[in-house]
């Protein structure tokens, strides 16, 4: 298969997930500052999303180039 023949994705497609992760990261960082308890838990969940994305990508890694 010639990979280069695949359709080019639009900028919106390319940056959809990264932009979402950036947004959740920023909300998480500020949420943690706003108090103890629930805001902290929200911060943990939101800031763990990038790590979750890494875990998912690792699980789906391919052994071919």
């Amino acid at each position: 298969m010639n990979r280069l023949s695949r359709r080019k994705r639009s900028l919106i497609e390319v940056f959809a997930v990264p932009a979402l992760l950036a947004l959740t990261t920023m909300v998480g960082l500020v949420a943690g500052l706003t108090g103890q308890g629930a805001p902290d838990v929200l911060a943990w969940l939101l800031l763990a999303l990038p790590l979750g994305a890494l875990a998912l990508a690792w699980a789906r890694r391919s052994r071919s180039n």
Partner: protein, 385 residues
């Protein structure tokens, strides 16, 4: 994106990354244990605060004057510089020095239990945490070292932006999260570099920006001291230095400060002549009264001779940004889980730096153009072989 645009962004990314790489690696590695500074301190020194059961020293306890008298008895001939309070325990610290403007290395820190007024013995040596923090802050080079690290932080931000721009042409033909770890190692490094870099982008940007703000913070504090504090005191005419023998009651000063800023909790008192006050004022620094503003300090200036309020006003926005940037840089504001996430993201940043260096070291001989083709094709062409 045109090839020449990719080429320009590639060159920006290359140089804004290569120049600060070693500094950034040092910062990431020394920063990793610093995330857990509370835990390390508690483990190596025994946690003094955990052994105290009185009310928070910021709220109540023995009179401040009595504790200050005890402190000065331990350090005859010295003058008080700072008195700091805890919001969590009855721990109270007094800093003394030979002169009101004594430099940090000549200061002595004394610990007290405000509930009983008793001294808590010598301060445990900071040891490894202090060493790492100093290295992380200025590499033991003082202000110049701090400014160099701040500049490296700004280059890091440029590298993040240019890296995110290059992510677009690279990923045009790839799905998000692609990790091709086959026989071609270079494609694997490219994918790891892009994936880790893009998912940790916002975190790296915040930690990088707040780090740079902190690095340039010392001059900021100075300019605030020279400008705002001077303004606050100038209204009362020229300020003559006040000898320590004429300092009046600290408890009365604290009462006047609390009356000016009701509902807020005091963090520390800067004594006259020091770097956080004027020549004749007690500067009582209060933290904000909401969770979001608790990292912002508001000083109340109390005339150290008369015990009367001179002025109380918020810090200027730049200084407020400096105060807010500390927790956002250290990640120590959301309990242990946040610290663990901080550590994981720090490791991700190290990996991004490492794969970046590998991609540069193991590049194929040849012109920049082959790297441009590599980026444009999403790693399929140019990286092969």
């Amino acid at each position: 994106m045109t090839s020449s645009a990719v080429r320009n962004w590639y060159l920006v990314h290359k140089w804004s990354s290569l120049i600060p790489t070693l500094f950034l690696l040092m910062l990431c590695i020394t920063g990793l244990p610093l995330i857990f500074h509370d835990e390390i301190d508690a483990f190596t020194d025994g946690n003094i605060e955990a052994t105290l059961h009185g009310p928070p020293s910021a709220d109540s306890g023995q009179p401040l004057d009595a504790i200050l008298t005890r402190a000065l008895k331990q350090r005859p001939g010295e003058v008080p510089l700072f008195m700091a309070f805890s919001q969590d325990s009855s721990l109270l610290t007094v800093t003394t020095g030979p002169t009101p403007d004594a430099p940090g290395r000549e200061m002595t820190l004394l610990l007290f239990d405000r509930a009983t007024g008793k001294p808590l013995g010598p301060v445990p040596a900071g040891g490894v945490v202090d060493f790492l923090l100093q290295f992380h802050t200025d590499m033991f080079l003082g202000l110049p070292g701090s400014l160099v690290l701040g500049a490296m932080g700004i280059l890091f931000l440029v590298a993040l932006i240019s890296g995110a721009v290059l992510y677009a042409p690279f990923m045009r033909r790839n799905r998000f999260g692609i990790l091709r770890l086959g026989r071609n190692r270079r494609v694997g490094w490219l994918d790891q570099h892009n994936l880790l870099g893009i998912v940790a982008l916002a975190w790296m940007a915040v930690v990088g920006a707040t780090g740079a703000i902190n690095a340039f913070g010392d001059p900021l504090v100075d300019s605030w001291k020279n400008g705002e504090l001077a303004q606050m005191t100038a209204a009362r005419g020229p300020v003559m230095p006040l000898p320590p023998s004429r300092y009046s009651s600290l408890d009365r000063a604290m009462a006047a400060a609390r009356a000016a800023l009701p509902g807020r909790s005091p963090q520390f008192i800067g004594f006259p002549g020091g770097s956080y006050s004027s020549k004749r004022h007690y500067a009582v620094f209060f933290q904000g009264d909401t969770p979001l503003t608790q990292y912002l300090l508001t000083p109340a200036l109390i005339d150290a001779e008369t015990g009367k309020l001179t002025d109380a006003r918020d810090m200027p926005p730049l200084n407020q940004a400096l105060m807010m940037s500390k927790p956002l840089h250290f990640g120590d504001y959301g309990g242990l889980p946040l610290k663990l996430i901080w550590a994981a993201l720090d490791l991700a940043a190290i990996w991004v730096l490492g794969t970046g260096v590998l991609l540069w070291l193991r590049r194929k001989p040849g012109a920049v153009e082959s790297r441009i083709v590599e980026i444009h094709s999403g790693g399929v062409v140019g990286a092969a072989g």
